[in-house]
């Protein structure tokens, strides 16, 4: 145990340099994925036949193939057509596109679970379709989706580690590098796991707080 602590004191500062990279990769991708997910949901629930199919094909494509393959395709495959991204950008794009597909599926379920009468009442008082969706449908659907969305947010936080494979210097990459230098993979990956655990539990507690904060009786527990 003391050895584990000493190792930590020595190497943790270097390992923690990956935290801002991991967190920014995650925060950008989950946020962009959120908005893209909303657009996909809109297309699938309210869009015409063309948008419905476009959205459906997108979702099936990105849920049906591994994120690692998607990331390699974007980073290593697209340069053939002159489309070149740096590793961080390629990772953000891959995680965003992948996460959007999952988020869209969660949003769709929650949008469909909001009683139809809510939208009808909004239209009946003269709101446009857009106002009714933004002011009445979304605030309810987002509250309802929060538990599943939290799960997705945490899964994506862990998925940022695969950006290591294309050279993004995040937590896993640094751990692997320190491991090679110290030849103590056991300890450094234990530390890396701990760091991820702290991050995921912080995100989980924040989202749990947000869930309680935005709770409205009758909206989420029906």
């Amino acid at each position: 145990m003391p050895e584990f602590i000493t190792f930590g004191i020595k190497w943790l500062p270097e390992l923690l340099k990956g935290v801002p990279i991991t967190l920014s990769l995650w925060a950008i991708a989950i946020t962009l994925g959120f908005f893209l997910g909303l657009v996909l949901t809109w297309a699938r629930v309210y869009g015409n036949r063309f948008f419905y199919w476009l959205s459906t094909v997108y979702i099936e494509l990105f849920r049906g193939t591994p994120m690692l393959v998607q990331m390699f395709f974007i980073y290593l495959g697209l340069p053939r057509f002159g489309i070149v991204f740096d590793a961080f950008t390629a990772a953000v794009i891959a995680i965003t596109l992948n996460s959007a597909a999952y988020q869209a599926e969660y949003f769709r379920g929650s949008v469909l679970s909001v009683p139809k009468g809510q939208l009808t009442a909004a239209r009946a008082c003269g709101m446009t379709q857009w106002q009714a969706i933004c002011c009445i449908m979304l605030p309810q659907a987002l509250r309802r989706v929060l538990p599943q969305w939290s799960n997705e947010a945490i899964v994506e936080l862990k998925f940022t580690s695969i950006a290591y494979t294309i050279g993004v210097v995040e937590i896993t990459a640094l751990a692997s590098d320190i491991g090679s230098r110290t030849l103590d993979f056991f300890q450094i990956f234990l530390w890396a796991g701990l760091v991820y655990l702290v991050l995921t539990s912080s995100v989980a507690s924040f989202l749990g707080w947000l869930e309680r904060k935005t709770y409205v009786p009758g909206v989420t527990n029906v």
Binding site: P115, G117, Q118, A121, A122, G126, I136, V216, G218
Partner: protein, 246 residues
């Protein structure tokens, strides 16, 4: 067209596949009038009401509000002038009572928050619920929810109020509070079309009762004429059944 004609429904038809729900309905409503539409389930009463503000789009026929035809192009502005009270209230569940009564004023009429709040408080007081302003719909009884939904409609200063079976989803002991609010509105000269099975309301508050069946208006007349000496066998039979159950 009479100058005081607020709502003019002309020859409205509606068909769902092979089922003709409305077979050419016409009715007019003068300012301050209350008309009660009664009839068995499936007679087209609710469809008629929903056609009036195009929540259900009629296949044919015209609807005029204060002389202006309702079109796709002006539908939102027209709906803002017609209050609609639903059978199952449809209060916005994520908003408290005050916000429920404020939101349409602010989003549709562009009222500022202060004006909307003041107006909302007035209407909540009118339905006797000013002390519930911060409660959420799920925390209210059905009768209270329906009164809030009436306040929400009133806060838009509608020229006509449409009630779609406003007491049908309520426990019998809660219908009274909603009926009283509707009676008060009728007495104050609000223009209203009310689809209901509440015969006491129809008898007391209606200027005219319209009996519908199979997508037709079978008969219409004053409460007195309809209840005491209807010409139609079908109307008498329906009223007898309702009287037995009510």
């Amino acid at each position: 067209m009479s100058e005081s004609l607020v709502l003019d429904v002309r020859n409205v038809t509606k068909r769902y596949d092979s089922l003709e729900v409305l077979k050419g309905i016409s009715l007019g409503l003068n300012k301050g009038e209350t008309k009660v539409v009664i009839g068995p389930s499936g007679s087209g009463k609710s469809t008629l009401l929903r056609c009036v503000n195009h929540l259900t789009k009629p296949d044919a026929g015209e609807i005029y509000l204060e002389g202006e035809a309702i079109r796709d192009a002006n539908i939102n502005a027209m709906r803002a002038r017609m209050g609609f009270v639903f059978q199952d209230f449809n209060l916005f569940s994520h908003l408290n009572v005050l916000d429920n009564v404020r939101i349409c004023q602010m989003k549709v009429k562009g009222a500022d928050k202060k004006t909307a709040t003041h107006r909302a408080q007035q209407e909540l007081a009118r339905v006797g619920l000013e002390e519930k302003a911060s409660a959420y719909p799920a925390e209210l009884s059905g009768g209270q929810q329906q009164r809030v939904s009436i306040a929400r409609a009133l806060a838009m200063d509608p020229v006509v109020l449409l009630f779609d079976e406003p007491t049908s989803a309520l426990d019998p002991e809660l219908t009274g509070e909603v009926v009283r609010v509707m009676q008060q509105l009728a007495a104050e000269g609000m223009t209203m079309v009310v689809v209901t099975h509440e015969m006491s309301f129809a008898r007391q508050a209606a200027d005219e009762i319209i009996f519908m069946e199979n997508g037709h208006i079978v008969e219409q007349g004053s409460p007195d004429a309809m209840f005491s000496h209807s010409d139609h066998e079908r109307t008498r039979a329906f009223l007898n059944v309702i009287a037995d159950h009510g």
